[in-house]
Point group: C2
Chain length 457, copies 2
């Protein structure tokens, strides 16, 4: 009953929230608390295999904030719960997002603890957006960060997103394809992502297509005759090496008709060994131009190993990309850092936060990231350029949505600027992030008011 088959409207978006955002809104309202507050969204910890993030999801976040309103059906449902006073419902009916947003543009390389996005607004508006913002920025950033690792692994070789069938629903398939392309994929198999975002679409054939013909040979011939420019033949339905010989025979027959086979795809077995054998068969038959593509359970580690050791020209990465694979979630949080009374921090065990409205400054040396400083936004004299840019004022976007190609180029440049320890797919490097003295002093002052003061990160 979810999914792209249901009219998605403002009512759906407004209710895409945890109930507590609404009960807190009602409580703030009852208290007459309409003071301005700032919330920041960051990822607390990247897990043991990640050294960096690629910020993504900002476009969806801004779209949500611009469109936020409680109307008709949504209000009627909230009324039906019997929890909200008439005044609270009336207040929600009139609510619009009127605040400002600062954020890292999509494709920016970021590290743990750095605010990716910051919202300043009357506290009810800022609080209400929590669930949606964590959901959207967290998911897109998760997949873009994973995709960037695959891009690093593939090096000079191409890789494409094959994740649609294993993503968590239709929306996730679309979002994953978008984030994958943002972070370096050459194409996607998902047609809707091509339509919506202009991403190149690609594809080969399924085992069922081979099985539905009297023989592998007839399947290959029929497919290539329908797509004479770019047919990629799936050769592992029965036996990969035998399938390569069948592909060669078909390619010879097709060549006589002026049809060119573009590639073959391996989808099972020992890929490195099979790729070498298939390459030998293709080369000996006089088809050095037929490319070898590999797919099937790949992730950044297997892509790196195969890219280094096997004559594979391109990779299809699906499940482990579109679900996040070994890390299916980010530890993303959205926390109050300042309100009308000043900077705020929480000191819960292991979950302490840094207080105050912040900016992140980056320094590069010789084209490589040297280090970031998390500082107070109004702190003077911090070296480096600011990563958070203002995206919204008075509830409106300052600029039209940027083309996805801009984020893609930003990510490409960002990955090129990552120095060696941070590029590693295996070794956990120390994040090149420091907290400014002024911010650290503020945290210490506030922490002393609430022992046990917790670690600062």
């Amino acid at each position: 009953m979810s999914g792209p088959l249901h009219p998605a409207d403002a009512a759906s978006a407004a209710l895409l929230t945890d109930l507590y955002e609404l009960t807190m809104a009602a409580a703030y309202m009852a208290d007459g608390n309409h003071g301005r507050a700032t919330f920041e969204l960051w990822v607390r910890d990247l897990g043991e295999h990640r050294n960096f993030l690629v910020a993504a999801g900002l476009d969806d976040a801004l779209r949500y904030l611009e469109g936020l309103r409680f109307e008709g059906e949504a209000l009627a449902y909230l009324r039906s719960l019997g929890r909200f006073s008439a005044e609270a419902l009336e207040f929600l009916a009139g609510l619009r997002f009127t605040g400002e947003v600062w954020a890292m543009p999509e494709g920016t390389i970021a590290f743990a603890g750095e605010p990716l996005l910051r919202v300043t607004a009357p506290i009810i508006e800022a609080q209400l957006a929590e669930t949606f913002l964590i959901n959207t920025v967290g998911f897109h950033t998760l997949i873009a960060s994973k995709a960037a690792r695959v891009t690093l692994a593939a090096g000079e070789k191409d890789w494409v997103d094959f994740g649609a069938r294993r993503a968590h629903g239709a929306d996730a398939a679309l979002g994953a394809a978008r984030s994958a392309w943002l972070a370096g994929a050459a194409a996607t198999s998902l047609v809707l992502a091509g339509h919506r975002f202009g991403i190149p679409v690609t594809g080969t054939m399924a085992h069922s297509y081979v099985l539905s013909h009297p023989s592998e040979s007839e399947a290959f011939l029929a497919f290539a005759r329908t797509f004479p420019e770019d047919a990629v033949l799936l050769i592992d339905t029965f036996d990969t090496v035998a399938g390569a010989r069948v592909a060669v025979a078909a390619a010879r027959e097709l060549a006589a008709e002026g049809i060119r086979v573009a590639g073959v795809r391996l989808d099972s077995g020992d890929m490195a060994m099979l790729a070498r054998e298939v390459r030998r068969i293709l080369d000996e038959a006089g088809f050095p131009d037929i490319r070898i593509l590999a797919s099937g359970g790949l992730d950044e580690h297997s892509v790196a190993a195969l890219a280094a050791a096997a004559p594979i020209d391109g990779f299809g990465v699906g499940t482990r990309l579109a679900t996040g694979g070994d890390e299916p979630s980010l530890d993303a949080v959205y926390k109050l850092v300042q309100d009308a009374s000043g900077p705020r921090m929480k000191t819960s065990t292991g979950k302490a936060t840094l207080p105050g409205v912040k900016q992140v400054h980056r320094i590069e040396e010789h084209g490589k990231v040297f280090g970031d400083t998390i500082a107070l936004a109004d702190e003077a004299g911090v070296a480096g350029w600011p990563l958070l840019r203002q995206a919204m004022a008075g509830g409106r976007r300052l600029d039209p949505p940027e083309p996805l190609t801009a984020g893609r180029e930003r990510c490409r440049a960002g990955l090129a600027s990552l120095p060696e320890p941070l590029r590693s797919l295996e070794v956990k490097a120390e994040a090149p992030v420091r907290v400014s003295d002024e911010l650290r002093a503020l945290a210490r002052r506030l922490g002393e008011a609430h022992p046990p003061a917790a670690e600062l990160h």
Copy 2:
């Protein structure tokens, strides 16, 4: 640019497909292949920690098939790719799903290798649906199966879905809430899931709410006065034990006003130890009715441990439920098993399939699952009742969508019927599934035609 903010329409659903489904359709069309074919959808392997599945996602799957059509924008986009002939595009414009579907009703307990859903239709229609069906049935079944494990872990205690912020986009948040409730959650925090599916919604307060008041005490009092029936106070913003004492003082003050505090929530630290200490504080203060709720990084294993050892009354399970946690995807496949020429099977190394149109039969003894038999659909004399029911004929549903409560009750009964080894959250039990002699003989005959014949599963 994805998500619930975009008008979701038939064009989006039709393009929610891998490109190769469309190129194969074009190739079948060019060949004049409109023969009927049967595809089955199953999960190959459950991974090392899973013993069963809970089938889910059927309603979305049927809705998609009923609505499948290529129109306006979608056709224009496909035309723009320059890959499809005018005839192919014309064919797609007229295409509707006209086939039949058999499936396990939502909430049915299933095992690896068992078809959850079977489609019989002209081969182009059946093939085209692959990406969407694997995506939807796979995702919903993944989360329902995970949720069922949490339900087993919680035993007599309640648990609720807190996963919205960590699910993979808006659609996934909604789907996860639905699947969680299907498989035994008592409620969800996601308001949209309450609205769409009638699931009870629940929630407490965030740390930001506490931080935005001059003191924890003032936050608790303000919140409870706004929600005098069911306030749950979050007590770990600074220090959980101190927070419990503040909650007790607030509860005393509120009691004098006729307001009752319903519960307290712990969200960090050593939950078992803290719950015992908090319970003691509440009891000694004369509040034995204030419930203790726990949340924060929980999964079925920690819920089981806490349910057994700590005075916790309810659990909020978020990230590790809504993302699948340790298993963020199912190894779900959708394979051709029969076409106009008869039964089909693939013999790829490690990925071999069972041929022919199948049915699954279940036997129970003394109210417990004894075993399932996967047999050919037209096989006579197989013991047990059939799990796959016809859901669609001639492209139309046979019955109106069943209420979600029916699936929830089916799942409840199914979990109660699971015998001990299969209920284990830790120990991998052997799946109680056999393949009928007739089906095994057919697979052997077909496998001999394509050595190396692969294992049968």
